[in-house]
Protein backbone atom coordinates (compact mmCIF):
# COMPACT_ATOMS: atom_id res chain seq x y z
CA UNK A 1 0.00 0.00 0.00
CA UNK A 2 1.22 3.42 -0.86
CA UNK A 3 1.09 6.43 1.36
CA UNK A 4 -2.24 7.70 0.11
CA UNK A 5 -3.84 4.30 0.36
CA UNK A 6 -2.75 3.96 4.00
CA UNK A 7 -3.81 7.48 4.75
CA UNK A 8 -7.23 6.91 3.26
CA UNK A 9 -7.78 3.67 5.13
CA UNK A 10 -6.83 5.21 8.47
CA UNK A 11 -8.93 8.27 7.85
CA UNK A 12 -11.90 6.20 6.81
CA UNK A 13 -11.54 4.14 9.97
CA UNK A 14 -11.81 7.29 12.11
CA UNK A 15 -14.70 8.69 10.14
CA UNK A 16 -16.62 5.41 10.15
CA UNK A 17 -16.15 5.01 13.87
CA UNK A 18 -17.34 8.52 14.48
CA UNK A 19 -20.21 8.12 12.05
CA UNK A 20 -21.41 5.09 13.98
CA UNK A 21 -20.89 6.23 17.54
CA UNK A 22 -21.16 10.00 17.07
CA UNK A 23 -19.39 10.15 20.39
CA UNK A 24 -16.96 13.00 19.73
CA UNK A 25 -19.25 15.16 17.65
CA UNK A 26 -22.13 14.98 20.08
CA UNK A 27 -20.00 15.66 23.15
CA UNK A 28 -18.19 18.54 21.46
CA UNK A 29 -21.45 19.98 20.15
CA UNK A 30 -23.17 19.85 23.53
CA UNK A 31 -20.12 21.30 25.25
CA UNK A 32 -20.04 24.18 22.76
CA UNK A 33 -23.72 24.82 23.37
CA UNK A 34 -23.06 24.95 27.11
CA UNK A 35 -20.25 27.44 26.61
CA UNK A 36 -22.73 29.59 24.68
CA UNK A 37 -25.16 29.35 27.61
CA UNK A 38 -22.40 30.51 29.95
CA UNK A 39 -21.71 33.40 27.55
CA UNK A 40 -25.36 34.27 27.84
CA UNK A 41 -25.06 34.58 31.61
CA UNK A 42 -21.70 36.34 31.35
CA UNK A 43 -23.02 39.00 29.00
CA UNK A 44 -26.47 39.34 30.57
CA UNK A 45 -25.62 42.44 32.63
CA UNK A 46 -23.89 44.39 29.89
CA UNK A 47 -25.53 47.51 28.58
CA UNK A 48 -27.42 47.57 25.29
CA UNK A 49 -24.83 49.91 23.88
CA UNK A 50 -22.07 47.35 24.27
CA UNK A 51 -20.40 46.71 20.96
CA UNK A 52 -20.63 42.94 20.98
CA UNK A 53 -19.23 42.84 17.47
CA UNK A 54 -15.79 43.86 18.71
CA UNK A 55 -15.74 40.99 21.16
CA UNK A 56 -17.37 38.38 18.97
CA UNK A 57 -14.14 37.24 17.28
CA UNK A 58 -12.57 36.56 20.65
CA UNK A 59 -15.67 34.85 22.01
CA UNK A 60 -15.88 32.58 18.98
CA UNK A 61 -12.25 31.56 19.41
CA UNK A 62 -12.59 30.96 23.13
CA UNK A 63 -15.47 28.66 22.25
CA UNK A 64 -13.40 26.83 19.63
CA UNK A 65 -10.33 26.42 21.87
CA UNK A 66 -12.30 24.91 24.75
CA UNK A 67 -14.43 22.72 22.52
CA UNK A 68 -11.46 21.41 20.58
CA UNK A 69 -9.68 20.42 23.78
CA UNK A 70 -12.59 18.19 24.68
CA UNK A 71 -12.47 16.51 21.28
CA UNK A 72 -8.69 16.07 21.33
CA UNK A 73 -8.86 14.37 24.70
CA UNK A 74 -11.29 11.86 23.27
CA UNK A 75 -9.56 11.32 19.94
CA UNK A 76 -6.91 8.91 21.25
CA UNK A 77 -8.68 7.67 24.34
CA UNK A 78 -10.93 5.61 22.12
CA UNK A 79 -8.01 3.98 20.31
CA UNK A 80 -6.41 3.20 23.63
CA UNK A 81 -9.45 1.62 25.23
CA UNK A 82 -10.04 -0.79 22.39
CA UNK A 83 -6.37 -1.57 21.83
CA UNK A 84 -6.66 -0.20 18.31
CA UNK A 85 -3.53 1.90 18.57
CA UNK A 86 -1.37 -1.16 19.19
CA UNK A 87 -2.83 -2.80 16.13
CA UNK A 88 -2.05 0.22 13.99
CA UNK A 89 1.48 0.41 15.36
CA UNK A 90 2.02 -3.27 14.57
CA UNK A 91 1.00 -2.77 10.97
CA UNK A 92 3.77 -1.76 8.56
CA UNK A 93 2.59 1.83 8.33
CA UNK A 94 4.77 4.90 8.35
CA UNK A 95 4.30 6.71 11.69
CA UNK A 96 3.84 10.07 10.06
CA UNK A 97 0.90 8.67 8.09
CA UNK A 98 -0.82 7.98 11.41
CA UNK A 99 -0.22 11.60 12.41
CA UNK A 100 -1.59 12.98 9.16
CA UNK A 101 -4.72 10.84 9.19
CA UNK A 102 -5.41 11.57 12.84
CA UNK A 103 -4.85 15.30 12.39
CA UNK A 104 -7.13 15.29 9.36
CA UNK A 105 -9.94 13.55 11.18
CA UNK A 106 -9.57 15.85 14.20
CA UNK A 107 -9.62 18.85 11.88
CA UNK A 108 -12.73 17.58 10.08
CA UNK A 109 -14.60 17.01 13.35
CA UNK A 110 -13.62 20.45 14.56
CA UNK A 111 -14.82 22.03 11.32
CA UNK A 112 -18.15 20.23 11.58
CA UNK A 113 -18.60 21.49 15.13
CA UNK A 114 -17.71 25.02 14.03
CA UNK A 115 -20.21 24.75 11.21
CA UNK A 116 -22.91 24.30 13.84
CA UNK A 117 -21.70 26.51 16.68
CA UNK A 118 -20.60 29.64 14.84
CA UNK A 119 -24.04 30.20 13.30
CA UNK A 120 -25.50 29.39 16.73
CA UNK A 121 -23.27 32.05 18.25
CA UNK A 122 -24.52 34.53 15.65
CA UNK A 123 -28.10 33.49 16.37
CA UNK A 124 -27.76 34.02 20.12
CA UNK A 125 -25.57 37.10 20.30
CA UNK A 126 -25.42 38.90 16.97
CA UNK A 127 -29.14 39.25 16.34
CA UNK A 128 -29.27 42.98 16.90
CA UNK A 129 -26.12 44.00 15.09
CA UNK A 130 -25.33 44.40 11.45
CA UNK A 131 -22.28 42.50 10.35
CA UNK A 132 -19.89 44.06 7.90
CA UNK A 133 -20.43 42.85 4.33
CA UNK A 134 -17.04 41.19 4.54
CA UNK A 135 -18.17 38.68 7.19
CA UNK A 136 -18.04 35.60 4.92
CA UNK A 137 -14.25 35.99 4.99
CA UNK A 138 -14.33 34.49 8.50
CA UNK A 139 -14.16 31.10 6.76
CA UNK A 140 -10.42 31.41 6.18
CA UNK A 141 -9.31 32.16 9.75
CA UNK A 142 -11.60 29.38 10.94
CA UNK A 143 -10.01 27.00 8.46
CA UNK A 144 -6.41 27.96 9.25
CA UNK A 145 -7.09 27.94 12.98
CA UNK A 146 -8.69 24.51 12.86
CA UNK A 147 -5.78 23.08 10.88
CA UNK A 148 -3.26 24.38 13.41
CA UNK A 149 -5.31 23.27 16.40
CA UNK A 150 -5.76 19.80 14.94
CA UNK A 151 -2.07 19.45 14.04
CA UNK A 152 -0.48 20.58 17.28
CA UNK A 153 -3.37 19.10 19.26
CA UNK A 154 -2.87 15.65 17.74
CA UNK A 155 0.77 15.62 18.83
CA UNK A 156 -0.07 16.89 22.31
CA UNK A 157 -2.95 14.49 22.83
CA UNK A 158 -0.63 11.62 21.91
CA UNK A 159 1.87 12.88 24.48
CA UNK A 160 -0.70 13.29 27.22
CA UNK A 161 -2.35 9.95 26.47
CA UNK A 162 0.01 8.01 28.73
CA UNK A 163 0.21 10.52 31.56
CA UNK A 164 -1.51 10.93 34.86
CA UNK A 165 -4.27 13.54 34.86
CA UNK A 166 -4.18 13.74 31.08
CA UNK A 167 -7.17 16.06 30.64
CA UNK A 168 -5.61 18.84 32.65
CA UNK A 169 -2.17 18.24 31.19
CA UNK A 170 -3.46 18.62 27.65
CA UNK A 171 -4.90 22.01 28.55
CA UNK A 172 -1.68 23.06 30.29
CA UNK A 173 0.37 22.34 27.17
CA UNK A 174 -2.25 23.11 24.54
CA UNK A 175 -3.30 26.63 25.46
CA UNK A 176 0.16 28.27 25.69
CA UNK A 177 1.43 26.57 22.55
CA UNK A 178 -1.68 27.52 20.59
CA UNK A 179 -1.69 31.09 21.89
CA UNK A 180 0.01 32.72 18.86
CA UNK A 181 -2.34 31.01 16.44
CA UNK A 182 -5.41 32.01 18.42
CA UNK A 183 -4.08 35.56 18.66
CA UNK A 184 -3.71 35.84 14.88
CA UNK A 185 -7.05 34.15 14.18
CA UNK A 186 -8.91 36.43 16.57
CA UNK A 187 -7.41 39.44 14.80
CA UNK A 188 -8.47 38.15 11.39
CA UNK A 189 -11.95 37.10 12.53
CA UNK A 190 -12.67 40.34 14.32
CA UNK A 191 -11.26 42.32 11.41
CA UNK A 192 -13.58 40.87 8.82
CA UNK A 193 -16.63 40.88 11.09
CA UNK A 194 -16.28 44.51 12.14
CA UNK A 195 -15.02 45.59 8.75
CA UNK A 196 -13.69 48.95 9.84
CA UNK A 197 -11.68 50.98 7.42
CA UNK A 198 -8.45 49.38 6.29
CA UNK A 199 -9.31 46.08 7.96
CA UNK A 200 -7.97 44.20 4.95
CA UNK A 201 -4.37 44.89 6.04
CA UNK A 202 -5.00 43.43 9.48
CA UNK A 203 -6.97 40.57 8.01
CA UNK A 204 -4.43 39.55 5.40
CA UNK A 205 -1.44 39.93 7.64
CA UNK A 206 -3.07 37.91 10.42
CA UNK A 207 -4.01 35.20 7.95
CA UNK A 208 -0.45 35.14 6.65
CA UNK A 209 0.91 34.79 10.17
CA UNK A 210 -1.62 32.09 11.04
CA UNK A 211 -0.64 30.26 7.86
CA UNK A 212 3.03 30.56 8.79
CA UNK A 213 2.32 29.16 12.23
CA UNK A 214 0.43 26.26 10.67
CA UNK A 215 3.22 25.42 8.25
CA UNK A 216 6.03 25.59 10.83
CA UNK A 217 4.24 23.89 13.71
CA UNK A 218 2.64 21.23 11.55
CA UNK A 219 5.90 20.22 9.94
CA UNK A 220 7.54 20.17 13.35
CA UNK A 221 4.77 18.06 14.86
CA UNK A 222 4.88 15.79 11.86
CA UNK A 223 8.64 15.34 12.20
CA UNK A 224 8.51 14.76 15.95
CA UNK A 225 5.51 12.45 15.87
CA UNK A 226 7.60 9.38 15.12
CA UNK A 227 9.47 9.80 18.41
CA UNK A 228 6.33 10.35 20.41
CA UNK A 229 4.27 7.46 19.17
CA UNK A 230 7.16 5.00 19.30
CA UNK A 231 8.11 5.92 22.88
Amino acid sequence: MGFFEQYRVLLRKDLTREFRSKEMLSSMGIYALLVLVVYGAALSQTSKGLDILQMSGGLIWALIVFTSMLGLNRSFAFEKEQGCLEGILLAPIDRSTIFLSKATSNCLFLLVVELITVPLFAFFFLGGVTLAPSWPLIVFPLLLGSIGIAGVGTLLSTITLETRGKDVLLAVLFVPLLFPLVYACVAATTGCMVGSEGFMTTYLRSLLLAGGYDIIMLSLSWALYDFVISA
Binding site: T163, R205, L209
Partner: protein, 263 residues
Protein backbone atom coordinates in the same frame (compact mmCIF):
# COMPACT_ATOMS: atom_id res chain seq x y z
CA UNK B 1 33.07 9.74 30.59
CA UNK B 2 30.64 7.15 31.86
CA UNK B 3 30.92 4.97 34.87
CA UNK B 4 33.57 2.28 34.52
CA UNK B 5 32.13 0.10 37.24
CA UNK B 6 28.67 -0.26 35.84
CA UNK B 7 29.68 0.34 32.26
CA UNK B 8 26.84 2.78 31.80
CA UNK B 9 28.35 5.18 29.30
CA UNK B 10 25.82 7.81 28.32
CA UNK B 11 23.64 7.53 31.38
CA UNK B 12 25.37 10.15 33.46
CA UNK B 13 26.55 13.51 32.20
CA UNK B 14 30.31 13.99 32.48
CA UNK B 15 31.00 15.80 35.71
CA UNK B 16 34.20 16.67 37.49
CA UNK B 17 35.72 18.03 34.29
CA UNK B 18 37.13 21.51 33.69
CA UNK B 19 33.62 22.91 33.62
CA UNK B 20 32.99 21.89 37.19
CA UNK B 21 36.33 23.19 38.36
CA UNK B 22 35.37 26.45 36.74
CA UNK B 23 31.80 26.60 38.06
CA UNK B 24 32.49 27.85 41.63
CA UNK B 25 34.99 30.41 40.32
CA UNK B 26 32.45 31.61 37.77
CA UNK B 27 29.82 31.82 40.46
CA UNK B 28 32.02 34.08 42.56
CA UNK B 29 32.96 36.14 39.53
CA UNK B 30 29.29 36.44 38.59
CA UNK B 31 28.40 37.67 42.06
CA UNK B 32 31.17 40.25 41.90
CA UNK B 33 30.33 41.43 38.39
CA UNK B 34 26.60 41.77 38.95
CA UNK B 35 27.03 43.53 42.29
CA UNK B 36 29.55 46.02 40.92
CA UNK B 37 27.39 46.45 37.84
CA UNK B 38 24.34 47.30 39.93
CA UNK B 39 26.24 49.78 42.06
CA UNK B 40 27.65 51.38 38.93
CA UNK B 41 24.25 51.54 37.30
CA UNK B 42 23.08 53.65 40.21
CA UNK B 43 26.09 55.87 40.82
CA UNK B 44 27.65 56.17 37.40
CA UNK B 45 24.90 55.79 34.77
CA UNK B 46 22.88 58.99 34.47
CA UNK B 47 19.17 58.97 35.28
CA UNK B 48 16.91 58.68 32.31
CA UNK B 49 13.83 60.63 31.39
CA UNK B 50 10.72 58.52 31.47
CA UNK B 51 8.39 57.97 28.56
CA UNK B 52 6.66 61.25 28.02
CA UNK B 53 3.15 61.45 29.38
CA UNK B 54 0.44 63.68 28.04
CA UNK B 55 0.24 66.54 30.47
CA UNK B 56 0.33 65.44 34.06
CA UNK B 57 -0.70 61.99 35.15
CA UNK B 58 -0.73 60.04 38.35
CA UNK B 59 1.40 56.93 38.19
CA UNK B 60 1.71 54.86 41.33
CA UNK B 61 0.28 57.60 43.53
CA UNK B 62 2.81 60.04 42.21
CA UNK B 63 2.13 63.04 40.02
CA UNK B 64 4.21 62.58 36.96
CA UNK B 65 4.85 64.88 34.06
CA UNK B 66 8.25 63.98 32.77
CA UNK B 67 10.35 62.67 35.57
CA UNK B 68 13.79 61.29 35.96
CA UNK B 69 13.05 57.64 36.38
CA UNK B 70 14.84 55.66 39.02
CA UNK B 71 12.75 52.72 37.82
CA UNK B 72 14.84 52.66 34.67
CA UNK B 73 17.46 50.88 36.77
CA UNK B 74 15.24 47.80 36.58
CA UNK B 75 16.41 47.56 33.00
CA UNK B 76 19.95 46.72 34.15
CA UNK B 77 18.59 43.64 35.86
CA UNK B 78 15.78 42.84 33.47
CA UNK B 79 17.59 42.60 30.16
CA UNK B 80 20.57 40.44 31.27
CA UNK B 81 18.22 38.06 33.05
CA UNK B 82 16.01 37.84 29.98
CA UNK B 83 18.98 37.08 27.73
CA UNK B 84 20.25 34.41 30.11
CA UNK B 85 16.84 32.77 30.24
CA UNK B 86 16.77 32.68 26.47
CA UNK B 87 20.25 31.14 26.29
CA UNK B 88 19.18 28.48 28.79
CA UNK B 89 16.18 27.70 26.62
CA UNK B 90 18.38 27.39 23.53
CA UNK B 91 20.66 25.00 25.43
CA UNK B 92 17.65 22.97 26.62
CA UNK B 93 16.39 22.63 23.04
CA UNK B 94 19.89 21.74 21.82
CA UNK B 95 20.27 18.95 24.39
CA UNK B 96 16.75 17.79 23.59
CA UNK B 97 17.74 17.40 19.94
CA UNK B 98 20.91 15.58 20.99
CA UNK B 99 18.82 13.28 23.15
CA UNK B 100 16.45 12.37 20.34
CA UNK B 101 19.46 11.72 18.09
CA UNK B 102 21.44 9.56 20.51
CA UNK B 103 18.89 8.40 23.11
CA UNK B 104 21.52 8.81 25.80
CA UNK B 105 20.01 9.54 29.18
CA UNK B 106 22.62 12.14 30.04
CA UNK B 107 21.29 14.53 27.42
CA UNK B 108 17.86 14.28 28.98
CA UNK B 109 19.32 15.25 32.35
CA UNK B 110 21.22 18.13 30.81
CA UNK B 111 18.14 19.36 28.94
CA UNK B 112 16.10 19.20 32.11
CA UNK B 113 18.65 21.13 34.15
CA UNK B 114 18.80 23.79 31.42
CA UNK B 115 15.02 24.04 31.60
CA UNK B 116 15.21 24.51 35.36
CA UNK B 117 17.71 27.34 34.92
CA UNK B 118 15.46 28.78 32.19
CA UNK B 119 12.49 28.68 34.56
CA UNK B 120 14.37 30.53 37.30
CA UNK B 121 15.50 33.25 34.92
CA UNK B 122 12.15 33.48 33.13
CA UNK B 123 10.41 34.06 36.45
CA UNK B 124 12.96 36.74 37.35
CA UNK B 125 12.37 38.33 33.95
CA UNK B 126 8.63 38.31 34.49
CA UNK B 127 8.89 39.81 37.96
CA UNK B 128 11.12 42.65 36.83
CA UNK B 129 9.08 43.07 33.65
CA UNK B 130 5.87 43.56 35.59
CA UNK B 131 7.61 46.07 37.86
CA UNK B 132 8.83 47.85 34.77
CA UNK B 133 5.37 48.14 33.21
CA UNK B 134 4.00 49.38 36.51
CA UNK B 135 6.41 52.24 36.90
CA UNK B 136 7.14 53.01 33.28
CA UNK B 137 3.74 52.56 31.65
CA UNK B 138 1.50 53.03 34.66
CA UNK B 139 -0.22 49.66 34.57
CA UNK B 140 0.58 46.34 36.18
CA UNK B 141 -0.12 44.38 33.08
CA UNK B 142 -0.57 44.99 29.39
CA UNK B 143 -0.69 42.42 26.60
CA UNK B 144 2.37 43.84 24.98
CA UNK B 145 4.36 41.50 22.66
CA UNK B 146 7.44 40.99 24.84
CA UNK B 147 5.44 40.65 28.02
CA UNK B 148 2.94 38.29 26.42
CA UNK B 149 5.66 36.16 24.89
CA UNK B 150 7.46 35.77 28.19
CA UNK B 151 4.24 35.00 30.00
CA UNK B 152 3.43 32.29 27.48
CA UNK B 153 7.00 31.02 27.67
CA UNK B 154 6.74 30.81 31.43
CA UNK B 155 3.52 28.80 31.14
CA UNK B 156 5.14 26.41 28.65
CA UNK B 157 8.20 25.88 30.87
CA UNK B 158 5.96 25.23 33.87
CA UNK B 159 3.95 22.86 31.66
CA UNK B 160 7.22 21.08 30.81
CA UNK B 161 7.76 20.23 34.47
CA UNK B 162 4.14 19.27 35.01
CA UNK B 163 4.50 16.90 32.06
CA UNK B 164 7.69 15.41 33.51
CA UNK B 165 6.00 14.83 36.84
CA UNK B 166 3.04 13.13 35.22
CA UNK B 167 5.02 10.32 33.57
CA UNK B 168 6.57 7.44 35.48
CA UNK B 169 8.45 5.58 32.77
CA UNK B 170 11.85 7.37 32.54
CA UNK B 171 12.41 6.56 28.87
CA UNK B 172 9.04 7.85 27.77
CA UNK B 173 9.35 10.87 30.03
CA UNK B 174 12.65 11.76 28.43
CA UNK B 175 11.29 11.52 24.88
CA UNK B 176 8.15 13.53 25.59
CA UNK B 177 10.08 16.18 27.50
CA UNK B 178 12.58 16.49 24.64
CA UNK B 179 9.79 16.88 22.10
CA UNK B 180 8.15 19.55 24.21
CA UNK B 181 11.44 21.40 24.72
CA UNK B 182 11.91 21.57 20.95
CA UNK B 183 8.34 22.72 20.33
CA UNK B 184 8.65 25.37 23.04
CA UNK B 185 11.85 26.62 21.45
CA UNK B 186 10.16 27.01 18.06
CA UNK B 187 6.88 28.33 19.41
CA UNK B 188 8.36 31.18 21.42
CA UNK B 189 9.77 33.26 18.52
CA UNK B 190 6.55 32.65 16.56
CA UNK B 191 4.59 33.93 19.53
CA UNK B 192 6.69 37.08 19.63
CA UNK B 193 6.42 37.63 15.88
CA UNK B 194 2.65 37.18 15.82
CA UNK B 195 1.86 39.36 18.82
CA UNK B 196 4.16 42.01 17.41
CA UNK B 197 3.15 41.92 13.75
CA UNK B 198 -0.61 41.63 14.07
CA UNK B 199 -1.67 45.26 13.93
CA UNK B 200 -3.75 46.43 16.80
CA UNK B 201 -5.33 49.74 17.52
CA UNK B 202 -6.02 49.09 21.18
CA UNK B 203 -2.61 48.59 22.78
CA UNK B 204 -0.64 51.72 23.50
CA UNK B 205 2.75 51.73 21.91
CA UNK B 206 5.15 53.28 24.33
CA UNK B 207 8.54 54.02 22.96
CA UNK B 208 11.27 56.03 24.49
CA UNK B 209 12.17 59.03 22.42
CA UNK B 210 15.79 59.56 21.46
CA UNK B 211 17.38 56.35 22.67
CA UNK B 212 21.02 55.43 22.57
CA UNK B 213 23.25 54.60 25.47
CA UNK B 214 26.40 56.21 26.65
CA UNK B 215 29.48 54.41 27.90
CA UNK B 216 28.36 54.89 31.48
CA UNK B 217 25.25 52.87 30.70
CA UNK B 218 26.75 50.23 28.46
CA UNK B 219 29.58 49.25 30.80
CA UNK B 220 27.38 48.39 33.81
CA UNK B 221 24.91 46.68 31.49
CA UNK B 222 27.61 44.51 29.93
CA UNK B 223 29.05 43.70 33.34
CA UNK B 224 25.69 42.53 34.62
CA UNK B 225 25.01 40.70 31.39
CA UNK B 226 28.23 38.69 31.53
CA UNK B 227 27.67 38.19 35.23
CA UNK B 228 24.18 36.78 34.69
CA UNK B 229 25.28 34.46 31.89
CA UNK B 230 28.11 33.20 34.10
CA UNK B 231 25.68 32.79 36.96
CA UNK B 232 23.36 30.77 34.76
CA UNK B 233 26.20 28.54 33.59
CA UNK B 234 27.60 28.06 37.08
CA UNK B 235 24.17 27.18 38.46
CA UNK B 236 23.72 24.76 35.60
CA UNK B 237 26.98 22.94 36.33
CA UNK B 238 26.40 22.84 40.09
CA UNK B 239 22.87 21.56 39.70
CA UNK B 240 23.96 19.00 37.13
CA UNK B 241 26.65 17.73 39.47
CA UNK B 242 24.29 17.36 42.39
CA UNK B 243 21.78 15.54 40.20
CA UNK B 244 24.41 13.13 38.91
CA UNK B 245 25.49 12.41 42.48
CA UNK B 246 21.87 11.85 43.39
CA UNK B 247 21.34 9.49 40.46
CA UNK B 248 24.47 7.51 41.23
CA UNK B 249 23.45 7.32 44.88
CA UNK B 250 20.02 6.01 43.91
CA UNK B 251 21.55 3.43 41.62
CA UNK B 252 23.90 2.27 44.38
CA UNK B 253 21.07 2.01 46.89
CA UNK B 254 19.10 -0.05 44.45
CA UNK B 255 22.00 -2.41 43.80
CA UNK B 256 22.61 -2.85 47.51
CA UNK B 257 18.96 -3.55 48.17
CA UNK B 258 18.92 -6.10 45.37
CA UNK B 259 21.96 -7.79 46.85
CA UNK B 260 20.45 -7.86 50.30
CA UNK B 261 17.26 -9.36 48.97
CA UNK B 262 19.05 -12.06 47.05
CA UNK B 263 21.32 -12.85 49.98
Amino acid sequence: MGDKRTGNAGIYPAVGTWADTLAPILLLLALLLTTIGFVLSFIWAPPVYGASVNGVEVIGGQVVSNVLLISQKIFYFHMPVAITSFLALVAAAFFAVRFLMTREARFDTMSRVCMEIALVFVIMTMATGVMWTRFEWGVWWTWEPRLTTYFILMLIVIGYFILRNAIDDPERRAVYAAVLAIIAFVDTPICFMITRLVPSSIHPVVLRQGGGMGVSMIVPLLMIMFGMVMLGFALYRLRLRSIVLEQKCDALTETLEDQRESA
